[in-house]
Amino acid sequence: MLRKIRLSLAVLFFIAVTALFLDFTGTVHAWLGWTAQIQFLPALLALNVVVVVALVAITLLIGRVYCSVICPLGIFQDIVSWISGKRKKKKYRFSYSPEKKWLRYGVLALFVIAFIAGIGSIVALLAPYSSFGRIVSNLFTPLYQMGNNVLAYFAERAESYTFYETEVWIKSVPTFIIAAVTMIVLIVLAWQNGRTYCNTICPVGTILGVLSRYSLFRIVIDKEKCNSCGLCSRKCKASCINGNEHSIDYSRCVACMDCIDTCKHNAISFTRKRKNADSKLSKTSDTKATDSGRRNFLSIGVAVAATSIMKAQEKKVDGGLAVIEDKQVPQRATAIIPAGAKSAKNFAQHCTACQLCVSACPNGVLRPSTELMSLMQPEMSYERGYCRPECTRCSDVCPTGAIKPITIEEKSSIRIGHAVWIKKNCVPLTDGVECGNCARHCPAGAITMIPSKVGDDNSVKIPAINEALCIGCGACENLCPSRPFSAIYVEGHMVHSEK
């Protein structure tokens, strides 16, 4: 019964969180956004006291159910492990293993140090919810989108506007590789040994493990009834039941309740802690170091070879389309981060690089950073689109408070950067034609077209940027006709300010 409740809740949570990452229309978030906000680390970073206290209380009451029910990465491993168990003779493939304390606390220490030092990339690499987000948004969302695009293809032919095509692209090669490696490692570990990751690496698992040692309700083995058959040990995906000694390592038990039904003698139950019933754990430490298989990646500079240069050629015949060269990312001294992030420092401290905002961005603006220090944390760039005035999706979805919720009105007055003019690329000067596309599309009215020659009102007009009015949305950069590099681009601000 307990197991069935656990399973049902876990499936619901898993579907909800996954749907959050897959959905690109922004509709799911309104209903299920809270499932991301109750994740432990995001709640901790958002200083969401209610959630953190509740999670601590639940753990002290009934153990690490968080890991079995709420954590999508835990459930993901359960699914892999369950499939693995469907194989012949693999139903009881686990065995008790002692706790690898030095690894667990070592990783936790590293995590805390990285966290305090503000090395976001290491935090993001270790945090379970971030790993899950990365895997889904990098590996599953593209598939989901392609499926949508197939529907959109047929919808188009049926003159229906229900489905529309979305752009599928790899937003950052390093992050994609990390996501793929993370998933492969997790699948291998879960396929063989169930919850190895949760009980040796996951820092959240370690913290909750410390708490769950003292949980009020817990799995208890009745020594009177137990005949030491060891079946429960072989069924325990957390490898925490020592059947011979009738003891359970509660720091690793994720309260999955699998063992209760497994025991043929009804010796196992989920009940209140009995005094002195706790067995001392064997303190043998395994000296064999297990390499987690995770690696740090150097950021890969993606060099894109410049293709043909588009020139405004003279028209001789009718029809045809001019070739449009792709835009390239300009060198920005300061990365641009979304309105609501307040400052680069605040952002780096709170962001767990879960990729939820990256998945949610409908304009192709957000993508994971490739800088070593902020690796995988989102940053903005405007080659594919710009930060549209009516959109606040990233601030709506962020569960950690790295991007604080803002309204559309607030957004229009937050300066996240400022535009910089590059004279040598400006089309009125290079092609001698009228342009002003930046000024025409500036939502802040920060750009005025002025004569290029002082005193000559008939000379071609060039943009003049009023930095005080510019909010850094990138409309000018994105819509600038100059390619591959725009004649106007946005520099980020370290600290966002109100206009």
Partner: protein
């Protein structure tokens, strides 16, 4: 089932036969019920299009017997059917098939230009026509020296000579000065044809028999038209090509142009009888009215009957991309049933009602293309018109169907025009505008559409 099918089909000419087929089935069912089963169902099928009933008109100067339907070679079918690739190759096999069908059904006038279809039209026309004896067809081409670097005498003559090579002929039946009156009007006309002596050269070529009929096509500045007609005694124009249809008759200068030609006995060749298909895809409420008068005739047939009913018209050009267009037009002119006075008035009234819809008069001729900054200008304008005709242009956020119409407009926009080729990329350089035969202020219209799209996206619509 039938209803659903009808619903999903747009009322384009492509679907004309299909729709009629459905109507035919419905009619057949109806007759069975009412017991008038003896009357045969007169649905249209390819085999019933007559091969020997085409209406012909004769030129006064050369006595050519020209089919009232002329084949415009400007909208030839491409190999890529998807339409999102504006640089697709001409589908020569399909061109041959269309030309074969046209000739078999009495069409004998083929109109091309060195500029059409990104410069590929003349060659494709030549390949298709050269499979027939030279006396089976009349070919018309133009001296399309638009670009200033072809204004020199040498470059213009080279273009002229090249037409012979591409068309694989040693004489040209109908030669035109192309699009007189466009761009900078009189000044441009003189630069293209007078200062370099090309007009005199062409008159000489006519004397030598290499050109059988000499004329010009006109768009734009009426002064140039008047001037060229005032020199008729000198140049003896064999024909003049003008834009004429039931909208332009009163709403543009078509009535004046035609009457000026008729006065002088110059045969008129008609272009844009259908306004690039716009007159076959009119607002549904108006289309239904025409259908009530002639339920078995296509909406397009009205436009062709209008143009063909004028006795001074030599031939009516139609750029037929699809076999269905060709078949429908052949049917309309085999033979022509001239409009009655009442029908003529009905069409003029229809024109007034269409004009109220404020569509942009783009005929998809692609003269404006390629846009040097990569925009797909006709696709943007046509999408806008389509939404206007279909009622997917929400006026404000309080509209009943606002959400649905907004979705249809925006999603349809992304489907019809790739993001990088949409109106927000128009920088207003203005290179397109002088090329537009309909005098659309293209940058203005694009910026207007862009503002509308922005307002839609931001939910701040109020017209």
């Amino acid at each position: 089932m039938n209803n659903q099918k009808k619903h999903t089909e747009d009322i384009s000419r492509r679907n004309f036969l299909k729709t009629l087929g459905v109507a035919g089935v419905a009619t057949a069912g109806l007759t069975a019920i009412t017991g008038c089963g003896k009357e045969e169902n007169k649905g249209i099928s390819a085999t019933e299009i007559p091969t020997d009933k085409m209406t012909y008109r004769t030129t006064p100067t050369t006595g050519d017997k020209v089919s009232l339907l002329g084949y415009g070679m400007m909208r030839l079918p491409n190999k890529s059917q998807s339409g999102d690739d504006g640089n697709a190759e001409i589908d020569q096999e399909m061109v041959n098939e269309l030309v074969d069908y046209a000739i078999a059904h009495g069409v004998n006038y083929f109109d091309t230009s060195p500029a059409y279809c990104r410069g590929g039209s003349e060659k494709a026309t030549g390949i298709a026509l050269s499979r027939y004896p030279r006396n089976k067809y009349y070919v018309a081409t133009k001296l399309s020296n638009f670009s200033p670097n072809t204004w020199s005498r040498e470059a213009s003559i080279a273009m002229y000579e090249n037409s012979f090579k591409e068309l694989q002929v040693d004489y040209i039946d109908y030669m035109l000065l192309h699009a007189i009156g466009m761009g900078r009007g009189m000044e441009e006309y003189e630069a293209r044809y007078v200062k370099n002596g090309i007009l005199d050269f062409l008159v000489e070529e006519r004397k030598a028999g290499r050109i059988r009929n000499l004329g010009f096509s006109f768009h734009g500045d009426i002064k140039v038209f008047d001037y060229l007609l005032s020199r008729h005694d000198e140049y003896k124009w064999d024909f003049v090509q003008i834009q004429l249809n039931y909208i332009d008759w009163k709403h543009s200068d078509a009535e004046y142009l035609y009457q000026e030609l008729e006065k002088r006995g110059i045969p008129a060749v008609i272009m844009e009888p259908l306004l690039g298909g716009r007159l076959s895809n009119i607002p549904n409420a108006i289309a239904v009215q025409l259908k009530q008068r002639e339920p078995e005739k296509s909406v397009a047939s009205w436009a062709f009957r209008f143009a063909g009913s004028f006795p001074g018209v030599l031939t009516v050009l139609s750029g037929m991309t699809y076999m269905e267009h060709l078949q429908d037009n052949i049917l309309t002119y085999s033979p022509l049933q001239p409009l009655s006075g009442e029908e003529f008035e009905l069409l003029l009234d229809t024109a007034n009602r269409i004009k109220e819809f404020k569509t942009i008069p783009c005929n998809d001729c692609k003269y404006c293309m390629p846009c040097p900054y990569g925009l797909d200008i006709p696709a943007i304008l046509l999408h806008y018109n389509k939404c206007l005709n279909e009622g997917n242009m929400p006026g404000n956020t309080q509209d009943e169907n606002y959400r649905k119409a907004r979705q249809a407009f925006l999603v349809g926009y992304d489907r019809k025009v790739p993001k990088l080729r949409q109106a927000n990329h128009c920088i207003g350089c203005g290179q397109c505008a002088p090329h537009c035969p309909q005098q659309i202020n293209i940058p203005n219209e694009l910026h207007r559409i862009d503002r509308y799209v922005e307002a839609l996206k931001q939910n701040k619509i109020s017209i």
